[in-house]
C-alpha cells in the first residue's frame, strides 16, 4: 500500500484526558494529571484508584469511586484488545476490585479521547451518563429502572438513535446492591461486585460515542500483526463449552465436594452444544468467542458461569442451565458467583440448616427461584459467600478467595488456582505465566487471547500505536502495578492468610505445604517480604 498519500503525523495517542463526574453535585470536568500519564490501561486504573481510596471507605458508600480506563489498543485493528478496565473498591471482597470488558465501549472511549473516567459520589436520583465526544450529560434513568442490562442498552441506543453506542449497564441486582452484581457490556459480565458499586451510586448505565480518527504511528505494522495474531487466535482459542468438554474428567461437582462424572458432563455440554443458536464476538475480536444457546424460546450466552451453576449444583440438564444463565444476565448477576452461592446454600440444606429456601442439589426449579430471590438484595446470600458463611458458621464449605466466589477452573488447573490465591481481587484470568498475563492485563488484551500473544508482540504493538514508553519501563510499570494493588489491599486490612485457597481446592493439587512454599517463592520474586508486603521496596 502506498502510504505517502496519507498524512500520517507522528504519534496520535489519545490525549490522555480524564473525565471526572461527580454524581452528587452534578459537576463534570476534564483534567490531565502528569503523574497519571506514566501509566497505561490497567496500570492507570490501579494507580488512580489507589490514589483516591486511602482509608477504609464503604465500598457502597459515597466515598468509593468507579474508575474506568481504556486500553492502549482500543479502537485499533488489534485482535481482542478493545478493552476497558473497571476499578473500584470491591463490595464483595473489601479489597482491590477490577475487571475488564471488551468491545464497543472501549473503541468508542478511545475515539472520544479519554484515557480514563472517574465517577464519584452518589446521585440523588437514578441516572445514566451519556458521553458524546467532549460532551458528557447526566440523564434521568427513572424509566430504565428494573430493566435488564441488554434492554437498558437497547433503550439508550433507541433514545439516542445510534446503534453503535458503547454501553455498559447494570440490572436489578446492581440496583439492589447485591454484592456480586455485575456490570454488563457486549455479552460479557464483570466480577468483583462492580455492578453493586454502580448501583450504590444510582448509576444505571454509561453510554459513549467517540468520533475522532485514530492515527497510530505505524499502521502498517498493526495491520500486518492483525493478520498474524488473528490466525494465532483462531488456532489457539478455546471457548468455554469446549474447555469444559475437554476438562470433563476433572470438573467439580456439588460445591466442589467431588468430581462430576464424565457422562454427566457429556450430557450437559453435549446438550448445550445441541442447543447452540449462533456464535458471537465483541468488536475487534476475530474469533467467535461466545456461544448463544436456545431453550424454550429463551436465548442466552453460555459461559463458564452457566456451566458452573449446573456442575456445582448437581444440575446437568442443559435447559435449566440456559435458563439459569439467562436469568443471571437479565438480573445483572455474576453467574460464577451465583453458582458458588447456590451450591453453598445447597450444602447447608443438605446438613439441615434452616436457610429459608427450599433447595437441594439437583433441584432445578428451586435453583431458578433462589436466583430470583437473591437478586432482590434482601437475603444473606445476596451479601456474598463470605458473609453467608460467617452467619451460618460454615466457613469450611464456603468456596472463595478473599470473599470472591471461586471459578470452577481453580479446581481443574493448579496455575489458575494459585493465581487466584495470590490475586488482589480474588480471581485470576490468564495463562500459565503470570508475568505475561499481567502484561496482557495492563495492555487490556482479552485474557483468553493469552495463547496468541507473546510479550514481544505486545511491545511491538505498543510501539506501533505510538506508545513512547520503552519495554524496560513497561516491564517495571507492570511490576509496580502489582505493588500498588498490594499496597491498596494492605490499607484495606489484607493479611497474608487472605492469599489462600479452601481445602477442597488445596487437596486437589500438591497440598498445603507445597502451596505455602510456592507462595513464599512468589512473594520473593515480587521483591516482597515473607509476609507478602512490599516492605522496603518503596
Amino acid at each position: 500500500m502506498n502510504l505517502s498519500k496519507y498524512s500520517i503525523r507522528g504519534t496520535i495517542m489519545r490525549d490522555g484526558m480524564t473525565l471526572v463526574v461527580d454524581l452528587r453535585s452534578g459537576s463534570i470536568h476534564t483534567k490531565k494529571d502528569e503523574g497519571e500519564r506514566e501509566y497505561i490501561g490497567g496500570g492507570l486504573g490501579a494507580y488512580m484508584l489507589n490514589k483516591r481510596i486511602k482509608g477504609d471507605v464503604d465500598a457502597m458508600g459515597p466515598e468509593n469511586v468507579l474508575v474506568i480506563t481504556s486500553g492502549p489498543f482500543a479502537g485499533m485493528p488489534i485482535p481482542a484488545a478493545s478493552g476497558i478496565g473497571i476499578f473500584s473498591k470491591s463490595p464483595l471482597t473489601g479489597y482491590f476490585g477490577e475487571d475488564y470488558l471488551f468491545g464497543a465501549f472501549g473503541n468508542q472511549m478511545s475515539r472520544a479521547g479519554y484515557a480514563s473516567i472517574i465517577i464519584k459520589g452518589v446521585s440523588e436520583r437514578p441516572v445514566y451518563l451519556y458521553i458524546d465526544d467532549g460532551v458528557c450529560t447526566i440523564k434521568r434513568a427513572d424509566e430504565l429502572l428494573g430493566l435488564s442490562p441488554w434492554k437498558t442498552e437497547e433503550k439508550i441506543r433507541e433514545a439516542m438513535n445510534d446503534r453503535s453506542l458503547g454501553v455498559i449497564s447494570i440490572g436489578q441486582a446492581g440496583e439492589n446492591k447485591v454484592r456480586y452484581a455485575t456490570i454488563y457490556g457486549d455479552f460479557q459480565y464483570s466480577g468483583c461486585g462492580l455492578g453493586a458499586v454502580m448501583g450504590s451510586k444510582r448509576l444505571k448505565a454509561i453510554a459513549i460515542k467517540g468520533s475522532n480518527d485514530l492515527r497510530p504511528k505505524d499502521p502498517t505494522t498493526i495491520l500486518e500483526m492483525y493478520k498474524m495474531l488473528s490466525k494465532k487466535m483462531e488456532e489457539s482459542f478455546v471457548d468455554d463449552l469446549d474447555w469444559a468438554y475437554d476438562a470433563r474428567d476433572k470438573l467439580p461437582a456439588n460445591n466442589f465436594k467431588g468430581v462430576s462424572s464424565d457422562s454427566d458432563v457429556k450430557k450437559l455440554i453435549g446438550g448445550l452444544k445441541e442447543r447452540e443458536l449462533k456464535k458471537v464476538s465483541f468488536q475487534h475480536c476475530p474469533v467467535a468467542c461466545k456461544t448463544l444457546c436456545q431453550s424454550d424460546g429463551i436465548i442466552s450466552p453460555i459461559t463458564i458461569g452457566g456451566i458452573s451453576i449446573g456442575l456445582l449444583n448437581g444440575i446437568y440438564d442443559p435447559d435449566t442451565v440456559i435458563k439459569a444463565e439467562h436469568l443471571c444476565y437479565t438480573l445483572g448477576l455474576d453467574p460464577r458467583s451465583v453458582a458458588v452461592v447456590a451450591a453453598f446454600a445447597n450444602e447447608l440444606k443438605e446438613r439441615e440448616d434452616d436457610i429459608g429456601f427450599d433447595m437441594g442439589f439437583g433441584k432445578k426449579e428451586e435453583l431458578l427461584k433462589f436466583i430470583e430471590v437473591i437478586s432482590k438484595g434482601k437475603s444473606i446470600f445476596s451479601e456474598g459467600i463470605k458473609a453467608a458463611a460467617k452467619k451460618f458458621g460454615a466457613e469450611d464449605s464456603a468456596m472463595h478467595s478473599k470473599g470472591a466466589e471461586l471459578s470452577i477452573d481453580t479446581f481443574t488447573d493448579e496455575n489458575i488456582a494459585f493465581g487466584t490465591a495470590i490475586s488482589h481481587s480474588g480471581s485470576y484470568q490468564g495463562g500459565e505465566d503470570y508475568d505475561t498475563s499481567n502484561l496482557l492485563k495492563m495492555m487490556m488484551v482479552y485474557p483468553k487471547a493469552y495463547e496468541a500473544y507473546s510479550k514481544e508482540d505486545l511491545y511491538r504493538l505498543y510501539a506501533a500505536v505510538g506508545g513512547e514508553t520503552d519495554r524496560e519501563r513497561l516491564g517495571e510499570m507492570k511490576d509496580k502495578i502489582n505493588d500498588i494493588k498490594r499496597e491498596f489491599n494492605i490499607r484495606q486490612g489484607w493479611k497474608m492468610d487472605d492469599d489462600t485457597l479452601p481445602q477442597r481446592i488445596m487437596k486437589n493439587f500438591s497440598g498445603e505445604e507445597a502451596f505455602l512454599q510456592k507462595r513464599l517463592d512468589y512473594y520473593r520474586s515480587m521483591g516482597w517480604d515473607e509476609e507478602g508486603s512490599k516492605g522496603e521496596r518503596e
Binding site: M1, K5, Y6, S7, I8, G75, M76, P77, N107, R111, G146, L147, S148, W150, K151, R163, S164, S211, N212, D213, L214, R215, P216, P219, L223, Y226, S230, E234, L277, K278, K279, V280, S281, F282, Q283, H284, C285, P286, V287, A288, L292, I298, I299, S300, H326, Y329, T330
Partner: protein, 151 residues
C-alpha cells in the same frame, strides 16, 4: 445481475473489522464513522451493509445537489465537489447502506475497483459478493426477530 458486498449472517460475528479496514483504505485513518460499510446487530443477527447498487437507485434522483451518478457497473459515484452532506441519500436508501462522512460527504461503497479490501480482511469469511436474488440465502431473518427477554 450486479454483485455487491453482503454478510452471511451465520458467519458474521459483528467484530467490525470491515469498517476499520474500509476507513483505513479510503480515508487513511482508523474510524468506523468514515467507513463505506457498516455493521449492525439486529436482534441476534450481525449484518454488514454496503451499497447494493440497485437497478433504480432511489438515492440518485433524490439528491438535491445532483452529486450522485450511477456508473454502468452499478457503482454509485459521489461528486465530492457537489455533495454537501445533506443526508437525503442516506434517508432514502432502503438498506441503510449510505453514511455521511463527519466532514459532510456521502460515503458509498465503490467495491474498491472490484477487489474489496473488507472482504479480504474479514476474519470469519462472512463477507461475500452476492446479487439481490441471493440475499435471502444469507440473511437469517429469524435471528433478527429474536429478543433477549422482556425485561
Amino acid at each position: 445481475m450486479v454483485k455487491f458486498i453482503f454478510s452471511d449472517t451465520d458467519r458474521c460475528t459483528g467484530c467490525g473489522l470491515c469498517e476499520i479496514i474500509c476507513s483505513w483504505h479510503k480515508e487513511g485513518v482508523f474510524n468506523p464513522l468514515k467507513s463505506r460499510i457498516r455493521t449492525v446487530r439486529l436482534g441476534f443477527a450481525d449484518i454488514a451493509a454496503a451499497c447494493r447498487m440497485c437497478e433504480n437507485p432511489p438515492c440518485v434522483p433524490q439528491c438535491p445537489s445532483r452529486a450522485l451518478t450511477q456508473r454502468e457497473d452499478g457503482v454509485i459515484e459521489v461528486d465530492e465537489e457537489r455533495c454537501d452532506g445533506c443526508g437525503w441519500c442516506a434517508e432514502v436508501c432502503p438498506y441503510g447502506a449510505i453514511n455521511i462522512h463527519p466532514k459532510k460527504t456521502a460515503l458509498i461503497c465503490d467495491m474498491c475497483g472490484g477487489d474489496p479490501e473488507c472482504v479480504k480482511a474479514c476474519p470469519t469469511d462472512a463477507l461475500i459478493l452476492v446479487n439481490q436474488e441471493e440475499i435471502p440465502k444469507y440473511l437469517r431473518k429469524d435471528l433478527m426477530e429474536i429478543k433477549l427477554g422482556d425485561i
